[in-house]
Symmetry: C2
Subunit: 339 residues, 2 copies
């Protein structure tokens, strides 16, 4: 049952069994055999709980994300897992259900030793400054790495890995403008998401640069779901100056938008061009295949996880944001503006 029984049975001390388990090369061949057979006989399995307790680490990483089942995040997770396996961490997934939670809610998981580090792939509640209790000033910064999301001033002390959302969205918008579109709408996510906020910023920037107006009502906020995008699209379609192109803050919403446009009896891209963001796997099997901006999802996952490992080991490297490249993928959901 416990290491003691094994030790007793093998006629050695608990220390030796422990060493056999963790540093086999430290124990002599003859002893190794004895210990192993005692282990076999008892069916002993080391108590991870006790081990972790003793070592003061959990070997657990919390990954905070808006929702599992997001086809884009699946790819990010793949990268995370690769590194986690390699480094001996297990992954605890925390689904925020697209709500933004308090930052402390997650950091506490580290302070209370529920996890060794945090990978934040979701947006968090904005700090409300004048809170009653002091913001845990007596605690050091826990190991946290931010991925995907853009970052508020409060958080930029942590390492982060992401694409340049502003530039990427500007690229996408610019592409639409090149196609001759002048009335371009934007479907944003909820306001609390910095990520979609940055993409909106990029969209506005490109419009401004091209000296195109952004009519009020062209930027609509939707929940980041198919249904949310459909509602948003309906609003856009009934606008008195209906856009000829729609930029969606992510592919999920783009799929919803296309569906709704077709439902309204319009054609994509002949009547309205649609462009998404993320390049999820469903993008290319859509009808029409979705033009979108790809992020190197797996790479982002891998890099965030690597930096987290560094942060945990205390090798507090630079906390500069790592920017990875995005890429416009042109498919069939965009075309020249109708005349």
């Amino acid at each position: 049952m416990s290491i003691k029984k094994v030790a007793q049975l093998a006629g050695v001390s608990t220390a030796t069994v422990s060493r056999y388990l963790n540093n086999p090369e430290q124990v002599k061949e003859r002893t190794r055999l004895k210990v192993q057979s005692a282990i076999d006989e008892t069916g002993y399995a080391p108590n991870t709980l006790a081990r972790n307790f003793r070592r003061g680490r959990t070997s657990l990483i919390v990954v905070v994300l808006p929702t599992v089942g997001d086809p884009f995040l699946e790819n990010v997770m793949r990268g995370i897992w690769r590194v986690a396996d390699e480094q001996g961490y297990s992954i605890l997934i925390r689904d925020t259900q697209s709500n933004s939670h308090e930052f402390d809610e997650y950091t506490d998981m580290v302070f209370s030793k529920q996890a060794d580090g945090i990978l934040l792939l979701a947006s968090i509640s904005p700090f409300e400054e004048p809170t009653g209790k002091p913001r845990a000033s007596n605690k050091v910064h826990p190991p946290i790495v931010l991925g995907l999301e853009s970052v508020t001033a409060e958080l930029n002390q942590f390492p982060s890995v992401r694409v340049d959302n502003v530039a990427a969205a500007a690229d996408g918008t610019h592409y639409l403008i090149q196609l001759g579109h002048q009335r371009i709408g934007f479907i944003a996510g909820k306001r609390n998401s910095l990520l979609t906020h940055d993409r909106e910023k990029g969209y506005r920037k490109a419009m401004r640069k091209a000296k195109l107006p952004v009519a009020s009502g062209w930027v609509v906020e939707g929940e980041q779901t198919l249904e949310g995008a459909r509602r948003a699209t309906r609003r856009l379609l009934s606008h008195k100056e209906r856009p000829t192109a729609i930029f969606c803050a992510n592919d999920e919403m783009a799929l919803g938008a296309i569906h709704e446009i077709k439902n309204a009896g319009l054609k994509v891209p002949e009547d309205i061009s649609v462009i998404g963001f993320d390049d999820i796997r469903y993008a290319e099997i859509m009808d029409p295949p979705l033009t979108t901006i790809a992020q190197p999802a797996e790479e982002i996952g891998e890099r965030t996880m690597r930096r987290l490992c560094q942060a945990i080991e205390g090798s507090d490297g630079d906390s500069e944001a790592e920017i990875v490249p995005h890429k416009l993928i042109v498919r069939k959901s965009t075309a020249n503006a109708p005349r």
Copy 2:
């Protein structure tokens, strides 16, 4: 830092602090205040590792699934999470990357106290019987509940929650037959998945009952991905007796199939009807919207988790399989057979 410091600062014993933390009602108002202010002052956070170790439980549940990012599993997870939160469990996700692993690999996580229980939503490697080491005969059955997947004889000692895959697939096939289809193909998942195996069984059963032949080459095995389904569909389309309808073992593959059929210049459902399984959220925004068989995903998640909690608490209820109802959702990807 530790409970001792807090106790010292508050002028009470560690036991009192512990009681305050776990059963506040046991400690007098006056003491409570003292303790709380000591906690505030020190910024103390209970060490979960130590607590779990002492209590002998991890408060962790492993959910084993083929892949995160599966839109269907997302709904199942939602149900799981609801119960987990309610019962104070955290969820450790284990992604098998669609490989089937050894059963022991998971049960060991319980024996080594990495988790309190296991929710198995993926298929596992078939037992190879004559293994060298005795199959842990000295260990009791760990708390495991099976969800979604059909179950081998070796595993039916564990509780499980699922739809009747055979009957459901038979229903779907029957519906196609009713529409006048006689040549019906079936795209299965990999052979190691019992789930798709059962669905195939249901398909064959319905065909047999209708006295329709299943030509060799009408049942094709694909990886359970869009690309896998596309390959499988190509094989089906080039069959000398091309099916007029295709039953896909899940929606993901059905989406791939529809895409490939359209690529080949054929129309869904005019030339070929397609039916899926699961009713993922993308099913209804497909073009055409996908006819499919819905499973009560969230309910399945909730029920599996509840049974797991029971199993952990040792109230070893009946280990009968719970069968939840499926439902045929008719959309536009199916139509009368072409004449």
